[in-house]
Symmetry: none
DNA sequence: GATGAATGAGCGTTCATTCAT
DNA sequence: GATGAATGAACGCTCATTCAT
């Protein structure tokens, strides 16, 4: 009980610090201080710094995938499914900007190197809704004949970049702009 | 003269090292060794490590902008101009993968934070072909009515991500795939 | 009762760990785990780590002295007594290699410093058979006129070193070699 | 020049500290302070702590072997050679007590583990006067038929232990006692 | 101007010890 | 009495930066 609370404190502190200042700006001592625990305490919950960092990533990933998977309209047409995911991304990360920033830091760091070969946002254990989407779209000839990688990039890169801009307050993504953004992404991959 | 040569040596060495191994894998001493100069010498050309890193970024950016600007068909329709830039990006970074990797390292690091507010790929002094493209497209009603930020993201984010995948050898972007990719980006922003 | 058992568990665990891996390889937490008790529990039986370590030493020492003293032929000639002790050492440590290894660890550590001034193997309370042997030998003029320290070193150092080699399997000390070794030690001190 | 001086300072500081207080009592920071250099400086001369510690050992060993080998009467009878070595050990370590203490610390530590399989005091590159002595003695039938290990222990263990006692001022080894000690060692191995 | 030896703040990590439960 | 989660001082080591040569 208390145990979980402390673990959460550490994760929260580390996440915020890393999201805000990058990995360099978040030494163990600072994480401990922000979490209100001793340095040694962190090592009771996480084997070492790398494990802590990867654990945070995994937690965020799980939350995100859970969010996107919930109410996923798998019976609906590809287009509907794509919109569900794309808008889900926008909604989720708009509401959890720290998660987004952490993701970014993680992904473009030595830590993310290992994950690079996996599709971004893909959860290990669960069915891969991204891949399913791609394959169904291809089979039904509703999306262009592109390698999966490129398909995903067209479909999601603009959204990710725009989310970053939104979070950095360089642009405000409201509902109508989100709609426009997601539609445009769809325009780029649909036949 | 010799001075410029030495400066170039340092930049080249630092860039290669950082592109290949990240900022962590490129301590000043290693850069000095690879550049064939003394550690102290680096400090004659660059005030400190941060300045060196930012200078490298600037140099790459200038080379890229020079490449894209050269033979820029400013008199041609927006679509043609867009294709020039988009394909130019693909060509340039395909030929200079180290530049790309450095860009990525830089962009997603504390160093990149300051640059985030500027448009990516935008050179300070020169006329901004990106912005000009956007404004002309808007005025002529050939592109959707989007904030410039989102326009750029739709237009170039998939290309940048795909370049990364290409450089990491997760997908091979040949001429025909490049054509398809760029066309798709255009599809997402055109009216 | 349970108390004594628990104390023994701790001593046993600590001894084995230290004998096998040295002081560095035996943190309190590991000792606790191996002993099947909580870390805090150790501190109920031993004031701190140093006390624990010294207690273990004392226990081993007592067991050894008890072994050597049992059936000690105090009425027999010096030579017989010496052989009893010397062979007893070989037998005891051959049968209890962990005790030997612990002794060695202890002796050549900061902990051993304090004990250095006492004769090795000398038990505090009991009559000192080593000293008695020395004094009788001297009085009867069967051993050379040497300071006690040097007498003991000549008499036992080769045995201790050879036991180490035996335990490290660099030499196999069987009965006949033990006989030869002990005889040689005697040769060095006898007149 | 200065370089060698600094290296010597570090070695001296580390040796004294380790000899006096053991490895635990000689953290890098303390060595640096005592040597009058920065911590980082140590790492210019020694790759890491282990290397430093082993280097010191090697230096002492070389000095000792050089001392023992110089004027070594290899043409003389085994007995003379033995006395040369044995008395050399006494003289050398009496004059260099820190070397002795360091040797002892080193030998009974995890660092010494690797050296354990080699004969103590045996230098890698040079001809092994110890082994030569043993083999010649055996061939000429002037020493008992013992395994080399046991021979060395009989011949030198009492000397080493007595040197320790001398250095700890538990006994004073003057020339005549040294003579007696060495003779006694010889008595234990000679036929 | 050029050098690289020297520096020490700062890092990740360990572990003896405490104390609330 | 027994526990083990929590602590933080202390460790070995790195590397950006300086400055005497």
């Amino acid at each position: 009980m208390t145990k979980q609370v402390k673990r959460e404190d550490i994760i929260r502190a580390a996440m915020d610090l890393i999201a805000a200042q990058g990995f360099h700006g978040a030494p163990m001592s600072m994480i401990a201080e922000k979490a209100g625990v001793g340095v040694g305490t962190i090592y009771r919950y996480f084997e070492n710094r790398d494990v802590l960092i990867k654990s945070i990533y995994k937690e965020i990933e799980e939350r995100l995938v859970a969010y996107l998977t919930k109410k996923y309209p798998s019976e609906e047409p590809v287009r509907i499914c794509f919109f569900h995911i794309a808008k889900g991304l926008v909604t989720y990360f708009t509401q959890h900007p720290m998660d987004f920033k952490y993701f970014e830091q993680f992904h473009y760091s030595p830590f993310g190197e290992a994950h690079r070969r996996n599709r971004i946002f893909k959860s290990a254990g669960q069915p891969d809704i991204f891949m399913e989407l791609y394959e169904r779209g291809l089979a039904q000839q509703v999306i262009k004949n592109l390698p999966p990688t490129v398909f995903f990039n067209l479909a999601f890169a603009p959204i990710v970049w725009s989310l970053r801009d939104h979070i950095l307050e360089m642009v405000a993504i409201d509902d109508s702009l989100a709609e426009l953004l997601v539609t445009s992404c769809w325009d780029s991959v649909k036949i």
